[in-house]
């Protein structure tokens, strides 16, 4: 194949209670790293990562909350034109699961109605025993069962995963799952921040370039 696959930009927003591992999940996905005792998010809240799924390439533009969720102060801008959202909770913290329900509801109210949402129970590593199996003894740290997570996801009609940002378990699967689920026809519409080649960009201007740089509809589109 001599032609590169078309790249689709997808704005993906992260939601969830503080310290459930939102940033760690993204860091694992973007750079395959994990930081123990990571400080609350500072300084980097706009990450991009390409993800190849079959014949299509998705460029995720990942928006972190930048801590603005702490006092319920997320701006409408955050949800604007988001095509995907990951709602994260900590499977060892029941309160974070209750909060996850709240965020799913918030997304239904604030975000566009065709948004793809994934519910993610993180910190699976905490419920594994030394041999890598899930510890189903009474001592298990798990407080939210896999069934509870799955039931919520089923009720809301959204995707569901359990992950470990620490050891990487199931993390890529979340982003691939979202990529598979995003409706093809909507990839290029209503995404002002996506670098789409053929979206409705007529008259949009790029302030960072110097002059006469107006994106015209259909301009530069590769129709081959």
């Amino acid at each position: 194949m001599s032609f590169p696959n078309p790249t689709t930009s997808v704005k993906l927003v992260l939601l969830g209670e503080a310290a459930v591992g939102k940033s760690s999940l993204v860091l694992r996905f973007v750079s395959n790293e994990f930081q123990e005792n990571k400080e609350p998010t500072i300084g980097a809240a706009f990450l991009t990562q390409k993800c190849t799924i079959g014949s299509k390439v998705i460029k995720y533009e990942i928006w972190d909350t930048a801590g603005q969720e702490r006092f319920a102060s997320l701006a409408p801008m955050y949800y604007r034109n988001a095509q995907a959202a990951i709602v994260v909770y900590d499977i060892t913290k029941p309160a974070s699961f209750i909060k996850a329900r709240h965020w799913v509801k918030e997304l239904h109210e604030q975000a566009s109605k065709d948004i793809t949402i994934a519910l993610v129970g993180n910190k699976y590593d905490l419920v594994k025993n030394d041999s890598g199996e899930e510890d189903d003894s009474e001592n298990s740290l798990r407080k939210v069962s896999i069934e509870e997570g799955q039931n919520l996801a089923d009720e809301e009609g959204i995707l569901f995963f359990e992950t470990s940002a620490k050891d990487g378990f199931n993390v890529n699967e979340v982003f691939i799952g979202i990529g598979n689920h995003i409706p093809e026809s909507n990839n290029n519409s209503n995404n002002p921040l996506g670098g789409n080649s053929n979206g409705n960009n007529e008259g949009r201007i790029d302030l960072t370039s110097n002059a006469n740089n107006i994106n015209r509809s259909g301009g530069g589109e590769c129709a081959c």
Binding site: A45, P192, G203, L207
Partner: protein, 448 residues
């Protein structure tokens, strides 16, 4: 939440958010509070419910207006950004352009002798313009050549004038310009809202004309750009910048008490979340009503909901329309900002026209009549009158730094002047904008 900060910022208007963002990027620990449950304060864009709650509290939002609540983003303060203006510069340097998309405003129009005419955006439009006769066009061209070629260091370009000594009227007279042309230059290009500038030195007018010309040259249709989803995106974008660099945000949090040191300096605030301390506070005028004074003039603003574009504007999706004061026997110009679904501020099929001027009489709504005539039939009109405030001291004695109200001008140049002025008073140094690190650098940073 007993915590210490470097700076507490009260109010999430544009001025406060830009300062909060810049100070956070510089490493200051910022706590940013708003008593309201939405971003933007006086510079917010309201959805339909918020809009009617504010301006017609007794009335329900009308049934005849369609679309979802959040499809409406109605600016409280009608302004556009100059493409080459200082706010654009700040947006680019702070990389807040990452979060906000902009489109041009389709055209700039001026009212003259009972009808409206397009302000020429380039030379060929100027030649075809109905605003001037053929001889006047030549005089105008000579004047604009003078402005474009004027070089402080080259006396031969001065044509005997000194921009810091000669008045604008003297320069107009030299070029033999008609009064209508002066109106056009002073009000539609230099964007003065009164004729006071005529008898003042020419320098500020020269700079304003240059800003206009350079802004038009940048993208072509008009000197203005505008953010999709309304001006309220601007404070949100800078608030996000601040948060990314560690700023803490608390909306819906009224200030229960302001704390002072024994010698009367700012010490902190008490809210429902607890006590927060900082040596410095930056606030909009509503947070310190006893430390501000009225500027004297009041502004009337009318948000008009239409289902049609403005007659005579070639059905453009967005327009600025200026009614120069002496065309309608006033002392202050009337501004009309027209927007549509192209800028995502109303649902498809609607147009929003925001009319504003400085009040001159006891019946301010009547003063807007010349504008209403140009708009044609209105589906609804919401009016508000605002006093303009400024701080009564520079704040250095109390460490309480208060911003000015958003004025009646059609752009943000006075707002960015205020931002720079407050920055200087707070930090003791002039604001120098540095380019933020690139996405790649930031990603590398994140991995550390």
């Amino acid at each position: 939440m007993d915590e210490n900060y470097d700076v507490i910022v009260l109010g999430t208007g544009l001025t406060e958010c830009v300062l909060s963002g810049i100070l956070s990027v510089e490493g200051k620990k910022v706590l940013h509070i708003d008593r309201q449950d939405f971003y933007g304060g006086e510079s917010a864009s309201l959805n339909l419910s918020q809009l009617y709650k504010k301006f017609k509290p007794s009335a329900q939002k009308p049934e005849f207006l369609t679309g979802r609540d959040r499809d409406w983003c109605v600016d409280l303060i009608p302004k556009f950004l100059m493409s080459n203006g200082e706010l654009t510069n700040i947006l680019v340097h702070t990389d807040v352009t990452r979060y906000i998309e902009f489109k041009q405003i389709g055209g700039s129009y001026v009212y003259r002798s009972g009808r409206i005419a397009k302000v020429p955006a380039n030379e060929s439009e100027a030649i075809r313009s109905s605003l001037m006769g053929i001889f006047e066009k030549r005089r105008m061209k000579r004047f604009l050549d003078f402005i474009a070629k004027y070089d402080d260091d080259d006396v031969s370009t001065h044509q005997g004038f000194d921009l810091d000594k000669n008045t604008m009227d003297e320069i107009y007279t030299y070029f033999g310009l008609e009064s209508g042309t002066k109106d056009f230059i002073g009000h539609a290009m230099a964007l003065w809202s009164t004729d006071h500038y005529l008898t003042e030195v020419a320098r500020p007018t020269y700079e304003r004309i240059m800003l206009y010309v350079q802004s038009v040259a940048k993208y072509g249709k008009s000197p203005y750009i505008y953010p999709l989803y309304g001006l309220g995106e601007l404070p949100q974008g800078f608030a996000r910048l601040s948060a990314i660099y560690g700023g803490t945000y608390m909306l819906d949090t009224p200030i229960d008490e302001v704390l002072y040191t024994d010698d009367g300096k700012f010490a902190g605030v008490v809210t429902k979340e607890g006590t927060a301390k900082a040596p410095i506070v930056i606030a909009d005028p509503t947070y310190f009503p006893d430390k501000v004074k009225k500027v004297g003039s009041r502004v009337i603003r009318a948000m008009c909901i239409l289902d049609h574009p403005i007659a005579g504007t070639s059905d453009l999706d967005s327009v600025q329309l200026i009614i120069p004061q002496n065309q309608v026997g006033r002392k202050h110009d009337i501004y009309i900002a027209v927007l549509s679904d192209v800028h995502c501020v109303v649902p498809k099929g609607y147009y929003l026209a925001i009319v504003s001027t400085i009040i001159e009489t006891e019946t301010p709504h009547v003063e807007l009549e010349p504008a209403f005539k140009l708009l044609g039939e209105r589906l609804d009109t919401l009016m508000g009158i605002a006093d303009l405030y400024e701080p009564s001291t520079d704040g250095t004695d109390s460490n309480i730094f208060i911003s000015k109200s958003y004025d009646a001008s059609s752009h943000f140049e006075s707002t960015t002047d205020d931002i720079k002025d407050i920055y200087f008073r707070v930090t003791g140094k002039p604001l120098v904008l540095q380019q933020r690190t690139t996405v790649e650098e930031e990603q590398a940073l994140n991995g550390l």
